[in-house]
């Protein structure tokens, strides 16, 4: 009891001390809870939460929410949210109204700085390759570490995994294609899904990636027909999915108990006709040949962040038969066809449950209940003012739902999700005290991508890093549940991910962020282990402190019991470096623990 009190006094944020809260889990919210925690050293064991003596449940609740709603909480975010009394809805409303931090100007500034530096070193500006993917990555991390629009970047990340374009293509060579696409997702994160769908459809990045750029109408003489790629994927992946869905996300079954396909090959061919005639909108080099864009001109000539435009001569003019009996009349302007076809898909009843469930999986849990999906579908279908597709309503429905907020989820074995690799790094970097010696957070993503299989806008294919229904063999498949992120956790990259963590916190110069530039343009961001020196003599306390930051009070008894004795043993008399090693080892153990790698 004495020890508990000591922890309480030492480590709760100053502003909490001595205050009496009425909103502990135990204070009215513990009904139906099974008390499984038993270790009196834990911060947030259920027992302590219930009796109000452990970690403040308000801290726990705030940090858990921010795990779902941001790319990683910061201490300030947690404190501010608690200050508001964990008023999640007001927090979301504030986020909706924050200015957007775009990656494109950041990228351009970074590229200018790089060019200036190397030219100053005597190199020719023309010999510098870029800006390309690398400079998008620098800008992405710089933005993510300095931004104030936390929810927006989280939603953009989720959308980037639904409306997938990837730098695993020639887009790799053009940073502005990547910043432009990501910023377009930022722009539309709190808008309407119908607008987003249109911007994605017309974006030259998607036009290149799914080959509807320069997609010409049927040519009977040459025996060619329109490219079906985008027509297929917009239905399968961006709007309605393969099978008819109930509003709760479950499949509609026919009389024989079989799922009902939403479209067939003829539908794909009809939609393929719709997406004809789109070509380059704006030239990258307007003062060189060709002086005007034309249909068929290769993407190389295009400005990579300007939308495609319609070239009517190449747009299919015949009637087009859409879903649910809609027909586009012959000889309409191409953009009218696209507009009406997007309306046709957007108004399909599948979009709410299909997109809603994908977003729930990205933010909250891999296995939402049908009732949860149904509530999100309702918000998608009608924001309360009769508007369909309002992302703000959808986001609130997802994050404020009782299934997302209830503490009960933590005790449900199948609730939550595996943490995606990008979130492991961003959440670590955003909450830990850091040394930022050069004032930069630029980071090359290549090593991280190779070790973990994930980096922003770098999916292997349009099917994202993981399919939403991926079932790892074993318990999860046996229970017919899903855990998409575990696609990136196989015997190969399970180990390389752990080594990636080691590269961040090792004792010989490990760093979180670094660049591929010369010393003067380095970032070398490292974790400020010395901030934890006050706790170094008491591993129990050190672990509690790290639990608060990295696992938000959810560090399991198993992990705690397994690592504390070893941290005690991490001690020697011949030098002082055991202190750094003990602190960093504690971080490393928590980072490789199942507790850090999952989100309950």
């Amino acid at each position: 009891m004495k020890t508990i009190f000591k922890i309480f006094c030492l480590f709760l944020p100053l502003g909490l001390m001595g205050q009496a809260y009425t909103d502990y889990i135990g204070a009215g919210h513990s009904e139906g809870f099974t008390i499984t925690a038993s270790h009196s050293m834990t911060n947030a064991g259920a027992e302590n939460s219930v009796n109000g003596k452990g970690m403040d449940s308000r801290y726990f609740s705030a940090s858990r929410f921010l795990q779902q709603a941001t790319m990683g909480a910061s201490q300030q975010l947690i404190d501010d949210l608690m200050e508001s009394g964990n008023d999640f809805e007001s927090w979301i409303d504030d986020e909706f109204n924050k200015p957007i931090s775009y990656t494109q100007p950041e990228m351009e500034a970074i590229w200018d700085e790089i060019v200036d530096y190397y030219v100053g070193q005597g190199q020719n500006a023309e010999d510098l390759f870029g800006p390309y993917r690398l400079h998008f990555e620098y800008a992405y991390w710089e933005t993510l570490m300095t931004n104030d629009d936390h929810l927006r970047h989280k939603i953009a990340n989720a959308l980037s995994q639904i409306l997938v374009v990837s730098s695993n293509s020639d887009l790799d060579g053009w940073a502005e294609a990547l910043t432009g696409y990501y910023d377009m997702l930022l722009d539309n994160s709190f808008g309407n899904y119908r607008d987003l769908l249109e911007e994605v459809t017309l974006s030259i990045q998607m036009g290149y990636y799914l080959s509807h750029l320069n997609n010409a109408k049927e040519n009977p003489e040459a025996n060619t027909s329109p490219d079906e790629n985008y027509a297929r994927e917009i239905m399968q992946l961006f709007t309605i999915g393969l099978y008819e869905l109930n509003p709760d996300g479950t499949q509609v079954l026919d009389g024989s108990g079989n799922p009902i396909p939403t479209y067939d090959q003829e539908d794909i061919q009809e939609f393929a006709k719709v997406f004809t005639g789109l070509g380059i909108g704006v030239l990258a080099y307007p003062n060189e040949w060709p002086y005007n864009p034309f249909f068929g001109l290769n993407v190389w000539a295009a400005k990579k962040d300007e939308p495609m435009i319609m070239y009517e001569d190449f747009h299919e003019t015949e009637e087009k038969y859409l879903l649910n009996g809609s027909v586009l009349p012959a000889n309409q302007p191409g953009m009218t066809d696209i507009d009406m076809a997007l309306d046709n898909l957007f108004n399909h009843p599948n979009v709410g449950p299909f997109i809603g469930k994908l977003l729930i999986k990205r933010l909250v849990t891999s296995n939402p209940s049908p009732a949860y999906v149904n509530r999100v579908t309702n918000a998608f279908n009608d924001n309360g003012s009769g508007v369909r597709g309002d992302m703000q309503a959808v986001i609130k429905a997802i994050l404020l739902d009782e299934e997302a907020r209830s503490g009960e989820a933590m005790l449900t074995p199948y609730a939550g999700r595996a943490k995606e690799p990008l979130m492991k790094i961003s959440s670590f970097a955003r909450i830990m005290p850091l040394n930022v010696p050069n004032g930069r957070y630029w980071s090359q993503g290549w090593g991280f991508y190779n070790n973990t299989g994930q980096h922003i806008l770098q999916s292997p294919t349009v099917f994202n890093f993981y399919l939403p229904d991926f079932q790892p063999i074993g318990d999860i498949a046996d229970m017919d549940l899903t855990a998409p992120e575990f696609k990136l956790h196989n015997t190969s990259n399970a180990i390389s991910s752990i080594n990636q963590f080691w590269s961040i916190v090792n004792y010989w110069g490990g760093s979180i962020f670094s660049t591929w530039e010369e010393e003067a343009l380095q970032s070398w961001v490292t974790v400020d282990w010395e901030a934890f020196l006050p706790y170094v003599n008491e591993p129990e306390i050190l672990v509690n402190e790290l639990d608060k930051l990295l696992t938000f009070g959810q560090l399991s008894d198993q992990t705690r019991d397994n690592i504390i004795p070893i941290l005690h043993d991490t001690y020697w008399t011949w030098s002082d470096n055991w202190q750094e090693e003990r602190i960093k080892a504690a971080m490393y153990y928590i980072m490789i623990s199942p507790d850090f790698n999952t989100m309950k």
Partner: protein, 479 residues
């Protein structure tokens, strides 16, 4: 659905393409799952995939990816006077002087003579001794394609022709009409793993072993590669098992975390995979440490290190309980827009040394007939020079090495190396006359993938080859 029966059916519904990525993969996936779920007796009722082979022998495939686009018309070169003159004319300053070319003696090219790059003396002698064959002008194709077809747009062409990222993917997936994340090596292993009496497997170490980390080729639906380091072997957790105090403590902590029991299914799944990887690494390294390494000398280059590690891994096949293995090694640096002659020459020399040592090592192990090495590269390069190098093209030449190879032969049709030839579509880009599917399917058949499973792995193969044929797709392997 069914609301527009009245409109015309397109002339070209692309039955092959209609099923495309999602459907194609679904088929294999369900096949694999079905087989997994069934016992041997039930599997007999599954007529499509019958295991013809008891898998009681050992076989390995070694895939060498020359990443960047090997200029393979400077690797295998025509030497007859008129052919060489044509070659020299089109390649101009990127041509290799005739007197430097090492002559080889193919037995199946009457009236035509050939040689190899001056930096490949061992490959030349292995070719002449029948240990090596070349396959000429092979490339990514969806269906048989001619030069007029390309111009008229009447055939489907691989996505992203001339693009590194797409073409290097297609050579690994053999699904060039789409961008997919699973490779034919991975799917092949999925299929063999799923056979009721398939080859023996190791629960902790995949049949697919990579010397180059994660790769598409070895990613299946139910399997991934087991990655090893070319010099150090098993890639464990950094410092795991090392002797000094700090590492000992870390090892103990990792073991404690991994061996703990969890109720939560996400935590349980996380730990299980790490544990499997850890156990595999321990088993691999212990077997390696206990074995006497092959005594064949290898050069001290990255590629020779990698092939030495493959030889030593094959050497411990029994300790690992392996009857079938697929190795993958990626070797980059071939994108020679500049300094082609110099750079490619050096790289080919390193390939030559590595292949030579590896061949000797397989002789040492008595496994020459059981190990087949083959090369892939995303494309050949333009015949014409860009001044100091060559650019991205399409069809090119590959080599195959091993005792099972019907060697000293050049398979396929070595193309005419001239602008405006019947295959040349601009800048000396050549339309392939053999598909990568045919090349890979023959390797898969030698590996004892049932013919009935080939179309699951190579969905376009039927456009080039009947899986019921009595002949092999190309004929370079004794099956």
């Amino acid at each position: 659905m069914g609301h527009h029966h009245h409109h015309k059916i397109k002339r070209r519904t692309f039955l092959g393409q209609a099923s495309c990525a999602a459907m194609g993969l679904t088929t294999l996936f369900s096949t694999v799952l079905n087989l997994k779920a069934m016992n041997a007796a039930a599997a007999l009722n599954y007529p499509n995939i019958m295991p013809p082979d008891p898998f009681d022998d050992y076989k390995a495939l070694v895939c060498l990816l020359l990443a960047g686009g090997n200029d393979s018309y400077n690797m295998l070169i025509p030497t007859g006077t008129s052919d060489y003159n044509e070659y020299a004319a089109v390649r101009s300053n990127q041509a290799i002087p005739q007197n430097e070319i090492i002559a080889i003696n193919p037995t199946n090219t009457p009236g035509k003579t050939f040689g190899v790059n001056p930096n490949m003396p061992h490959l030349a002698s292995m070719f002449d001794s029948g240990r090596v064959a070349f396959i000429s002008n092979v490339g990514t194709l969806i269906e048989p394609t001619t030069k007029p077809d390309v111009w008229s747009g009447t055939v489907d062409l691989p996505l992203g022709l001339f693009s590194h990222s797409d073409q290097v993917m297609h050579w690994q997936t053999s699904v060039p009409h789409d961008r997919v994340a699973t490779g034919w090596g991975g799917k092949m292993v999925d299929l063999l793993n799923a056979l009721p009496n398939g080859p023996a497997t190791n629960p902790n170490i995949s049949m697919n072993i990579s010397l180059s980390g994660s790769n598409v080729f070895q990613t299946g639906l139910g399997s991934v590669e087991y990655a090893i380091h070319p010099m150090y072997g098993a890639i464990g957790m950094n410092g795991y098992g090392d002797e000094w105090l700090s590492s000992q403590l870390r090892t103990e902590a990792v073991d404690n975390i991994v061996d703990a029991q969890y109720q939560d299914i996400f935590k349980k799944t996380y730990v299980k995979t790490v544990k499997t990887a850890r156990d595999g690494n321990i088993q691999f390294q212990e077997a390696m440490d206990a074995a006497t390494p092959v005594s064949t000398e290898f050069e001290a280059t990255y590629l020779s290190d990698a092939f030495k590690m493959i030889a030593n891994t094959i050497n411990i096949r029994q300790e690992l309980g392996m009857k079938r293995q697929v190795f993958f090694v990626e070797y980059g640096g071939w994108d020679n827009h500049d300094e082609l002659l110099q750079t490619q020459g050096e790289l080919l020399g390193e390939v030559d040394d590595a292949l030579n040592s590896f061949n000797l090592a397989m002789e040492e192990l008595g496994l020459t007939d059981k190990v087949t090495t083959f090369s892939i590269s995303e494309f050949a390069r333009t015949l014409i020079s860009n001044g100091n190098g060559t650019d991205h093209a399409w069809g090119g030449n590959v080599f195959v090495m091993g005792g099972a190879v019907d060697g000293q032969k050049i398979y396929g049709q070595y193309p005419q190396l001239a602008l405006d030839s019947s295959l040349e579509i601009g800048n000396g880009v050549l339309v392939p006359t053999l598909s990568a599917d045919e090349y890979f399917a023959e390797l898969a058949m030698w590996y004892d993938v049932p013919a009935s499973g080939l179309l699951d792995i190579f969905p376009n193969l039927g456009n080039f080859y009947s899986v019921n044929s009595a002949n092999n797709p190309i004929g370079f392997l004794n099956i």
